[in-house]
């Protein structure tokens, strides 16, 4: 069995389409990581933004309460009005917090600019701040934690984009597995050997799943590596997801920190990938050419998204939201799964578990269907 798996992996790796796609994907990957972590907004014009960001984060990390918010905004207003070039520069961290808490919103900058023109300064007490309670942050036993969040939002964005890349690459791998043998007319030979119906099918499923998972781990590994450089390690891992002001999930009902959210995203992507692999393998086993199985595989992957443009409520809509393409993005699954109107169940955790169970079930059912089909395969 191990030997057969080895040969099946080799068959995939030698495929020209796969090699080409891998090559292109490396460029896409480099592009995503470059834009996400190296060309990020945080760097600012002089590329010192990240360093300043971490300095400000360090001063601001801790328990999330009105005093701390006020302290952050005090420093922000002050440095905004100071003429010291060192402290000036765009401070994305505080800017997001200001957007959330300053009642006047963006108008406050006009006020400050007017005051500055007249040689005046505005102090924090002249500005109308909303309280945490007013905004409606979810409260738990323990207070929320504030800390680095801009970098984490960037990590989430990159993670979302990588899911599309990984999925498309995996669909490409899996659509080849059976249909390329069919299109070479190899089936009469393979399926008339002793292990050609049962063990070979299992070996192909294992090989495709293995390569897909390898792609998954490799790409996310690289991404995490790039992130730790960008984010200076994992700082901010324990920041509550509610206080990620860029994500605007203030009312998110479950106590989760940013690392836990990332873990959930990865787990969800992992199971999604298993389901995508199984479905695509089934498509591959039922089509005669790799090209049509690629088209159908990609079509099925994207279809639920297209359907949600047409159907926007009701059980079918709920069903569509179970599919990876509708919930792969971090913000999407956090919001969708915590709303009864978007998902089958009332609570985030229940919906998350339901989704994961469904994904695993899809993976098992389709892999089994592939096995059954190849076991009984007849030429026409």
């Amino acid at each position: 069995m191990k030997t057969i798996v080895k040969y099946e992996m080799e068959k995939i790796k030698q495929n020209k389409t796969f090699i080409g796609a891998l090559f292109i994907s490396l460029f896409v990957l480099a592009g995503i990581l470059y834009v996400g972590f190296y060309h990020a907004q945080l760097y600012g014009i002089d590329r010192e933004g990240v360093e300043k960001y971490h300095q400000i984060v360090e001063k601001s990390t801790g328990e999330f309460n009105d005093q701390r918010v006020k302290k952050v905004l005090t420093n922000y207003i002050e440095s905004y009005q100071s003429n010291d070039a060192n402290t000036k520069g765009f401070d994305l961290f505080s800017w997001e917090i200001a957007n959330t808490f300053i009642a006047e919103g963006e108008n406050v900058y006009d006020q400050i600019n007017d005051a500055m023109k007249q040689g005046d300064k505005i102090t924090i007490d002249q500005i109308n701040l909303k309280s945490i309670e007013e905004i409606g942050f979810t409260e738990f036993q323990e207070p929320l934690t504030m800390g680095s969040f801009v970098t984490w939002k960037d990590l989430y964005n990159v993670t979302n984009q990588l899911f599309l890349l990984i999925s498309i690459l995996s669909i490409l791998v899996c659509c080849l597995v059976f249909s390329s043998d069919t299109s070479r007319n190899m089936n009469s030979l393979l399926l008339s050997t002793r292990l050609g119906r049962k063990q070979l099918t299992i070996a192909k499923i294992i090989a495709a799943t293995f390569i897909s998972l390898f792609i998954f781990l490799f790409i996310h590994g690289l991404s995490l590596g790039a992130f730790t450089v960008y984010n200076d390690g994992f700082t901010g891992w324990d920041t509550s997801i509610q206080t990620n002001f860029s994500m605007e999930l203030f009312r998110f009902p479950v106590e989760l920190n940013q690392l836990q959210v990332f873990g959930l995203a990865i787990a969800l992507q992992f199971l999604s990938l298993l389901a995508i692999v199984a479905i695509t393998l089934y498509v591959s086993a039922t089509t005669r050419s790799p090209f049509s199985s690629l088209l159908i595989g990609l079509g099925l992957f994207l279809l639920p998204k297209a359907l949600t443009q047409l159907i926007k409520r009701g059980p079918i809509y709920h069903l569509l939201n179970l599919f990876p393409i509708n919930n792969y993005s971090v913000k999407d699954f956090l919001t969708l799964m915590s709303a009864k109107t978007e998902f089958f169940l009332a609570h985030f955790v229940q919906n998350m578990i339901l989704t994961m169970v469904v994904l695993v079930a899809i993976a098992i059912i389709f892999n089994f269907a592939v096995y059954q089909r190849m076991k009984q395969y007849q030429e026409v």
């Binding site: 030997t3 057969i4 040969y7 080799e10 068959k11 030698q14 070479r184 007319n185 190899m186 089936n187 009469s188 030979l189 393979l190 399926l191 008339s192 050997t193 002793r194 292990l195 050609g196 119906r197 049962k198 063990q199 070979l200 395969y377 007849q378 030429e379």
Partner: protein, 290 residues
């Protein structure tokens, strides 16, 4: 050891590819003779279990091969008619892959594959990628892979296509030495390939098994039907229209014709000894483009 087909019929949407074929095969070499589209490949795919017959049964040692397909496949060797290899596999790797699929232990597989590659004359190119093989080399690789598991039932669909005369001889010897106590069935259009090695010839015509028997016996059925006559060249066209010609040899302004006909074609025609090739033409004259 006995392979038996009972009333096997296979129809595709609108054509009947095999029509009520019944056949019982004991160990030996069988040559399946049939023109293009006569159903040879269809028959082989049914026996190897990749195509389901519409009606009828195929049994091996009295057990249905579909019900016992795992068992049957382990004693089966099959070379399909047309498929494309994995271009980046080497010959040896392909052999080892098929050996793995046949469930053969790794160490033994290696020895067995080397031995077979040598037997089909591919040992010096075994580490070359298949995309660099010539047509005949691929064909020989196909023959070799079918024999890896030392099958009791060996089915070869047009194994000699693309082989040069030297390789044909080698192939015949290989089959002859392999076939003791085995059922070997091979199809071909090239009559001479099976004339020497086949113990029996099966004649398949438009999906119907028309005749079977040792070649000498079959040839006897057209005894007295083969003639040779010498004619003027200007009468040639008329003769070609009227008669089934199995050979023509030009000599100056005259031509020697070999004619298959129940009646004496010309007054001065002489009866000659029929060959298997004459027999083939006799059976498949329609397709012969008379």
């Amino acid at each position: 050891m006995q392979l038996e087909l009972k009333n096997v019929t296979k129809s595709y949407d609108d054509i009947i590819a095999l029509n009520d074929v019944s056949l019982c095969l004991a160990p030996g070499v069988y040559g399946l003779l049939g023109s293009n589209g006569s159903g040879k490949t269809t028959l082989f795919r049914i026996i190897s279990g990749v195509l389901k017959q519409t009606t009828g049964t195929v049994t091996y040692n009295e057990k249905d091969i579909r019900a016992n397909s795992d068992e049957f496949r382990s004693i089966l060797g099959f070379l399909p008619q047309d498929f494309s290899y994995y271009p980046d596999f080497t010959g040896m790797k392909f052999m080892l892959y098929i050996a793995a699929l046949k469930g053969i232990n790794r160490n033994f597989a290696k020895r067995r594959c080397l031995e077979l590659l040598k037997l089909v004359g591919l040992d010096d190119v075994k580490d070359k990628k298949i995309k660099k093989y010539s047509g005949g080399m691929k064909q020989r690789l196909g023959i070799a892979q079918a024999m890896i598991n030392d099958p009791e039932v060996l089915i070869l669909d047009e194994p000699t296509v693309g082989l040069d005369p030297k390789e044909r001889v080698r192939f015949r010897n290989l089959i002859s030495s392999f076939s003791k106590n085995k059922i070997v069935i091979l199809s071909t259009h090239i009559v001479s390939d099976i004339e020497y090695i086949a113990d029996e010839i099966l004649v398949l015509n438009k999906g119907v098994l028309e005749n079977r028997g040792p070649s000498s016996k079959l040839i006897e059925t057209i005894h007295g039907y083969v003639w040779e006559t010498e004619i003027e060249n200007d009468k040639l066209d008329d003769m070609l229209i009227v008669h089934l010609i199995s050979n023509q040899k030009h000599a100056g302004n005259r031509t020697v014709l070999r004619i298959i006909s129940k009646e004496k074609p010309t007054p001065d025609a002489k009866q000659v000894q029929p060959t298997l090739e004459d027999l083939y033409l006799y059976y498949f004259r329609m397709e012969a483009g008379r």
